[in-house]
Structure formats: C-alpha cells, structure tokens
C-alpha cells in the first residue's frame, strides 16, 4: 500500500498542533483583547539590512565627514550628501569637513548596504528596522536630522516606524562579515571605532566557532 502512505502523512500533520507560522501582527484578536502574545515577530537576523542610522563617536562628534562616497556608490542614487568645512572653534566632526546635508530617499533605497561598505568612518550603518510605511513622498526622504542618532546614541524613532526591541541596539558592529575584505586574519579583532551610547562593539566571533555553536 505504498501509494496510500502519503495520505497518512498529511492526515497526521493535520492533527499536529504545533504551527510554523508566526502570527505576524496579532490580527483582530490582538486588537480586541490587547493580547501581546499574539503580536509576535520572528527574531531578525543579525545582519539584516534595514533603515539607516548616522552614528556619532563616543564624545558626541558626528562620524560623517561628508566625503560623498556613499552617494557615489549607491546603485539606486538615493543618497544626497553635501559636505562643508568644519568651524575650527566648534567642529561637528573630528575631521576637516562634515556632512552638512544628508538625505536618503527611501522610495528608491534598495537596502543593498553598499553605502555602509563604502563609508571610510563607519558613519552610516543600518538598523534592523524595515517596517516604516510612510504615507507621503516628503516623509520618504529622511533628512540628516532624522537619520542621526540622538544624544544617548539611539536612532530617532519616527511616528510611522514600528520599532521592536533589539532593532536599535545593533545598528552596527555586524556590518563587516568576518573582517575587512573578508580576510580571516581579522577574525576576533575589533575593526570599527567606538560609538556614542555603545562604546566599542565586541568583535565578531571567529566564523568557525560560530558555525560550531550553530550546529
């Protein structure tokens, strides 16, 4: 009866209580009963490409130096940067120049992360937030003010953004997979500068150790 064995498989699965579906938004049950256990989202991968943030150094200085490399590398041409010379008495960034205008058009951004890779100062990184459904074109263009982290080093949370726990804590630090240019020799070596609110991020674990942990 080899032909009929398959029918039992599906029938058994129907009796199986455990579901693989994550109830994404909780639905009407959640809205009516405010039962937060229904409003679940799966944990996002560490290297998810979400909405960008502009980082600051631990002393509060902006990391962006207005070099426009991100704008140059952007395949979607969604980044607009204009640099300006720092005021010597009251500098915005540690270098000579700073990003005076910094805009990202999220109607065009494809979240490829090339800007993050191009950035020489790790000024632009990506958070894990991808649920930000703005309702007009003006909101789609994020200005420097909206992208820059606040004084505690956390990303600004705009009204239409659905931030969940953990999405703003690791805005960077995972951006370089194992090491710059993939050289395994840099595994376990901190290769990015400190950040406001977070300090120096822990180094990425050695790939082989991570693999052993996962398996």
């Amino acid at each position: 009866m080899g032909y009929l064995g398959g029918f039992l498989v599906t029938l058994r699965q129907h009796g199986y209580r455990k579901k693989v579906t994550t109830e994404y938004s909780g639905g009407r049950v959640w809205r009516r009963k405010k039962d937060d256990s229904r409003d679940r989202k799966i944990d996002k991968p560490e290297r998810l490409h979400g909405r960008h943030v502009l980082n600051r150094y631990e002393d509060g200085m902006e990391k962006c130096i207005g070099c426009e490399l991100c704008a140059g590398v952007c395949p979607a041409r969604c980044i607009y940067v204009r640099g300006r010379d720092n005021d010597p008495d009251n500098p915005t960034s540690p270098g000579e120049r700073f990003g005076f205008v910094y805009e990202i058009n999220y109607l065009r951004c494809i979240h490829c992360d090339l800007c993050v890779e191009a950035c020489p100062t790790e000024a632009i990184t990506e958070s894990k937030l991808f649920e930000f459904s703005f309702t007009n074109r003006q909101d789609a263009i994020y200005t420097k003010d909206e992208l820059l982290v606040d004084d505690a080093g956390h990303p600004r949370q705009l009204p239409w953004e659905d931030w969940r726990e953990g999405e703003d804590t690791h805005t960077s630090g995972w951006m370089r997979a194992t090491a710059p240019s993939g050289d395994a020799g840099f595994e376990g070596v901190v290769s990015w500068s400190g950040e406001l609110g977070h300090g120096v991020r822990a180094p990425e674990p050695v790939q082989s150790e991570r693999d052993a942990e996962d398996n």
């Binding site: 599906t10 029938l11 699965q13 129907h14 579901k19 109830e23």
Partner: protein, 409 residues
C-alpha cells in the same frame, strides 16, 4: 412506482397555483443563496484544512476564525480593473465565465438537499400546505442532467482559454477539453453501475432506495464504481492532482491567465461550487444522500431535531467528508504528468468501469434467469481477464510500433 411519467415535482400536478409557484421561487432563492454561501465557506474550509496539513494557521484575520476572508477577497476582486486583452475575442471572452458559472449552479438543482426520509416518507415535507421535496427540481432524467450540465462547464473553460488570444491560456484550454472529455467517459460508465442497480435516473429515487447502510450503492455496486467515480470526478473538477488545466508552474495560470476582476471571481466561484456539487452528487449516488445512517433496522436518529431538518444535517455531514477528501487529495498528491493522466483515464478507469458494469449486468441477467450465481461470476471474470489481456496486447503492439517509428515514449 406508478407507470406514468412522473412530473418534475408532485405538487405541480393539476394546474398551476400560486402556492406551488411561491414554493418553487423560495426554493430557487434558497438553493442559489446556499450555493453562494457554501462556496464562500468552502474556500475558507479548503484554505484552513490545507493550512493545517502544512502546519500553517491559514486565514484568521477577517472575521471569526477568518471566515470572512473569502468575502474580503471577493470584494477586492469586484473593485479591480476589468481587463480584456487586445487580441481577445471580446464576445466569447465575456461569455465564458458565465458558461462556467451557470452550470455549476444548475447542477446543484437536482441534489436532494434534505427532507424526512424516516418511515418511508420518501423525503416529502410540507411547505405552505404543499407536499414537496427539499430539492429544486426532480426531473426523471436527474443524473443525466447532471452529466450534461457538467459537460457544458467544459465549454466555459475551453472558450475562456481560446478567446484570450494568448498562448498559455490556449494550452490550458486544450488540456481542459482533452482531460474532461476523457474522464467524462469514465464518469458516465461508473455512473452506469449505479443506474443499473437503482433502476431509475431520478436522484430522489436513487436516494430513496438506499435506506440502510447495506443498501448504499457504494456497497451494492461493489466499491469499484465509487472509486472510479471519485477519481474521475476529481479530474472533471480540475482539482489537484488533475489540475493540469491551471498548472501554475507550467502555464502561468492556465485558462484563466488573462482574466481579472469579477470574471476571474466567477471562474473561481464556479470551481468551488462544482466541487460542492460533485461531493453532493457522490453522496447522493453512493452514500444515500440525506438518508439517515441506519444499520439494519436501527436508525441513528439525531435527537431534538425535527425529521424534516434531519436529512439536511445528514447530507451536510456526508458532503463535508467528501469536501475534506478533496482537500486531502490536494494536500497529498503531486500533479499528474499529461501522459500519465491520459493513461490513467483511458487505460485504467474506462476499462475498469466498463468491465465492472458488465459484471454487474451479467449478475442481474443471471439472477433474473435463475442461472447459477458462481458460474455467471466465473464466466464474466474470464471474459474480463480475456478482454484485459487483449487490451494489454493492443497497447504493446502500439507501443512497439511507436518505438519502431522512433517516438521517444
């Protein structure tokens, strides 16, 4: 059994009166509405069950348990832009959805939907002082009507694909016509066994004879016609594993690729309505329709329910089983390849149902003539084996010929 030709409904005999007319109108309305609502629930049921079989949750957002999901989908389809391709045959393109939709509802008209079958009441109930059956129409040709109507539904699919002026729908409709014509034969032949045993074509007559569990046609015809009918019906409905007509992976969307908006909704509706109708037809033909389940003289009576409603409940339960089976098929079986489909239809189902029909017919003739039952069986079996050997020989010859000609299959 009266010798005269029975009228479509006994209450219509002797002149047309207002009350019978009203009853018929109410029945039409009820059957139509029940059909629509049942289709809506069927879509929900299918999605929910198949989700369960795949360890998913299924629709659960719109309405309680997601019951209104179909309504939401339907409303969305209504709002969508109605597209007609440039190269389509406009008239036929517009006509085709109705050719699929109307037969789906027409076939439902002959299904006995309930009634009081206890104590030989033959499903009669009293409505507005009229003795009637809970069935929209009970024509003397009932089952043939269902077959004829289901053949018309082929036109809907065929013309839809043809008139789209696009190649994938055309391929889908070519498959549809070939498949449905092939399986119609197996469907009709397996039905023949039931008609032979029942001796009537009227659906209420067929139901009326299946009083106890042992009288059910699935047993009196010996299972084989039922299995053939179930498989052929699945193919006739274009449901998985026989959904080559709309094989998404091969044909984009099959015959309905170019359809959008309400026209697409009509095809969708017709498909699910046909599933319900076919399940109800299987129950009517093989499982006693709205007859309560009774073993010997013990009737499984549903307590606290008037007899007139009990039939409907039984029918619903039995139909639900088959709807589940159809969904189960879909969740379990992968799609047939085209040559496998044709092989199954022509080389297995049609010979099997034909042979079984012959066996039953021989038994009947033998019984009437008083021949020895076992001799009759033996002779029929020998003839069937001989015929099967001939069939295999014929297949082998044609296969050898093909191979000699260099065809690759």
């Amino acid at each position: 059994m009266t010798p005269r030709l029975p009228a479509v409904d006994p209450m219509l005999e002797g002149g047309l009166l207002w009350a019978p007319l009203l009853v018929v109108l109410v029945k039409v309305l009820v059957v139509f509405l029940v059909g629509l609502v049942a289709t809506m629930l069927m879509v929900w049921f299918e999605r929910k069950v198949i989700a369960g079989m795949q360890n998913r949750i299924g629709p659960n957002k719109a309405g309680p348990f997601g019951l209104l999901q179909t309504l939401a989908d339907g409303t969305k389809l209504f709002m969508k832009e109605d597209l007609i391709p440039e190269r389509a045959d406009r008239f036929v393109f517009k006509l085709a959805p109705y050719l699929a939709f109307v037969p789906a509802f027409l076939a439902f008209a002959i299904i006995p939907l309930g009634g009081d079958w206890s104590n030989g009441k033959a499903g009669m109930v009293t409505l507005f002082g009229q003795q009637t059956r809970l069935q929209l129409a009970d024509p003397p040709v009932g089952v043939l009507f269902a077959l004829a109507i289901s053949s018309i539904a082929v036109y809907g699919i065929m013309l839809a694909g043809w008139s789209s002026g696009s190649k994938y729908p055309l391929l889908g409709s070519v498959r549809a016509s070939a498949q449905m014509v092939s399986y119609e034969a197996a469907l009709g032949l397996s039905l023949g066994a039931v008609l032979l045993v029942a001796g009537t074509l009227s659906t209420s007559g067929i139901v009326g004879q299946q009083v106890t569990l042992g009288d059910w046609n699935v047993i009196t015809t010996g299972f084989v016609p039922f299995i053939v009918f179930l498989i052929a019906a699945t193919a006739e409905l274009n449901r998985p594993p026989f959904d080559l007509v709309e094989a998404e992976q091969e044909l984009v969307g099959g015959f309905n690729t170019e359809y959008a908006s309400i026209r697409f909704a009509l095809f969708f509706l017709a498909e699910f309505m046909n599933t319900i109708t076919m399940s109800a037809l299987i129950v009517t033909l093989f499982f006693g329709g709205p007859q309560p389940v009774s073993i010997g003289s013990t009737v499984l009576d549903i307590p606290f329910l008037p007899g007139a409603l009990e039939g409907t409940v039984w029918l619903l339960l039995k139909v639900l089983v088959f709807l589940y089976v159809y969904v189960w098929f879909r969740a379990t079986l992968p799609r047939f390849r085209y040559d496998q489909l044709m092989d199954l239809g022509w080389k297995l189902l049609i010979p099997a149902s034909l042979g079984w029909f012959m066996l039953l017919a021989a038994q009947r003739v033998g019984n009437r003539a008083g021949w020895d039952r076992w001799t009759v069986t033996l002779v029929t079996a020998l003839v069937i084996v001989g015929a099967y050997a001939l069939l295999q020989a014929a297949l082998k010859v044609s296969r050898d010929n093909r191979e000699r000609d260099g065809a690759g299959f």
